[in-house]
């Protein structure tokens, strides 16, 4: 436990010094809220809707940090630490490289939660939006999104042969997911065909769940998002456990 605490403190400091996650996971979602807030204000999501456009976007924006940490941060970090033989170094100590991976999973979770809270405070105070959904449902969905996104990151970081490949795969996954899953560009403004395509992105399913639970809507088909994300998480976790390259 002492090792975990010391590592967490130091690695968190290093991560903050690196600035990438501060920009992509904390600042970026805040900028998105401010932009959408300025554009849409307290306008309803559509004519006759009993929730605002911004309230509708809250669930989506809260996934930006998860996506940045899981799909971009984790693969880059794992491949970097493997390349620098930091993971291997742990094998000649009484500890294990799993410790440092666990520490970074916690760090990316911290970023996600900090982002969620700051986005919530912002929409609540400055744009007078309310959370009318089910907190339980929302938190559950949020955890599921974290699980599935982080498992993708573990898989990419764990099996990519080098840092360069990891960064290419991460970019291929990250940017389309960020743009088209509804996390930034609202799903509702996309044309029908695009919506059908983006439904295949795992994050799109997560965003749908978060939207429904944060707005308190009944979801037509809760089975598809829950099952698809759980299956994805289980699949990625088992493959990365089996195929993880420590060096």
């Amino acid at each position: 436990m002492k090792a975990f605490r010391t590592m967490l403190k130091t690695e968190l400091k290093l991560s903050i010094r690196g600035m990438d996650m501060i920009i992509f996971a904390i600042v970026f979602p805040i900028v998105m809220v401010i932009l959408l807030g300025i554009i849409y204000g307290t306008k309803p999501a559509y004519d006759g809707a009993d929730y605002t456009f911004l309230e509708q976007s809250f669930g989506a924006i809260s996934t930006i940090a998860i996506c940045a940490g899981g799909v971009m941060g984790l693969p880059l970090l794992i491949s970097d630490y493997r390349h620098k033989k930091i993971l291997k170094r742990f094998k000649v100590t009484p500890s294990s490289p799993i410790l440092i991976l666990a520490v970074h999973l916690v760090i990316y979770t911290i970023y996600s939660v900090v982002s969620l809270i700051s986005v919530y405070i912002l929409v609540k105070i400055f744009f007078h939006s309310d959370f009318n959904g089910s907190i339980f449902g929302f938190v559950g969905s949020y955890v599921l999104v974290i699980l599935s996104m982080f498992s993708i990151g573990m898989l990419v970081g764990g099996v990519a042969p080098d840092a360069k490949t990891a960064s290419i795969i991460a970019s291929i996954l990250y940017f389309p997911m960020l743009m088209f899953s509804g996390a930034t560009l609202p799903y509702e403004v996309m044309p029908d065909t695009l919506q059908k395509v983006t439904d295949f992105l795992p994050l799109t399913q997560g965003v749908k769940l978060l939207k429904a639970t944060s707005l308190g809507l009944s979801i037509d088909n809760i089975v598809i998002p829950v099952v698809s994300m759980s299956v994805l998480a289980i699949l990625c976790i088992s493959i990365s456990i089996k195929c993880f390259r420590w060096e």
Partner: protein, 244 residues
Amino acid sequence: METTIKVENLSKSYGSFLAVSDLNISVERGEVFGLLGANGAGKSTSIECILGTKKADSGTVSILGMNPVTERKKLYEQVGVQFQESNYPDKITVSELCMETQSLYKTFTDYKELLKQFHLMEKEKSMVSELSGGQKQRLFIVLALIPNPEVVFLDELTTGLDVEARRVVWRSLDELKRKGLTIFLTSHYMDEVEVLCDRIGILRKGKMVFYGTVQEAIQSSNCTKLEDAYLYYTDQEGLNYESI
């Protein structure tokens, strides 16, 4: 004398390439053992198989009477390791790296004492990446010593250092030797081996072609200097180096 590191009949191949063949090493407590050989002769593979970070195809290894694979956690409370390439995260400071390392062990020496001893105290708040080559290597010795080990493994500790920096590192190792620490090192520099090592092993194409003291190496090869003896043993083409 008590045997600290015992390697018996260790072999390891990568596909059809035999990297290490039938290696036997025995290092007594308080001894400094140097494993020598050209690049690609199998030094790093040997060290990794001994440490258990690579799986040997056959043979047995025991360090402090323990198996480095099955008793890893217990063994590495008492063994310090410095790998060939530096391994630390970007943007980490000297004290942060020391604290992270210290947190992994149940018992440890206060890293500040070690930094003082290795003249690095004034660098405590500096980024590791900003240290000079010699300072970095001294820091890596400090990291290997944090668990207060009985045995340390140092892989090419002085490669890439200038003469002066190497001398500083030697002095530190000499001090450790006098304190009774068992040291297993690899090196390319024969002057350094001559000063530090009680016994050496010379690897050529994965095979141990010489095993004994520095004096024995010089005598058995009819040379006057260790460097010539080393070339005699590692000479792959059968060329006569004396003519150079």
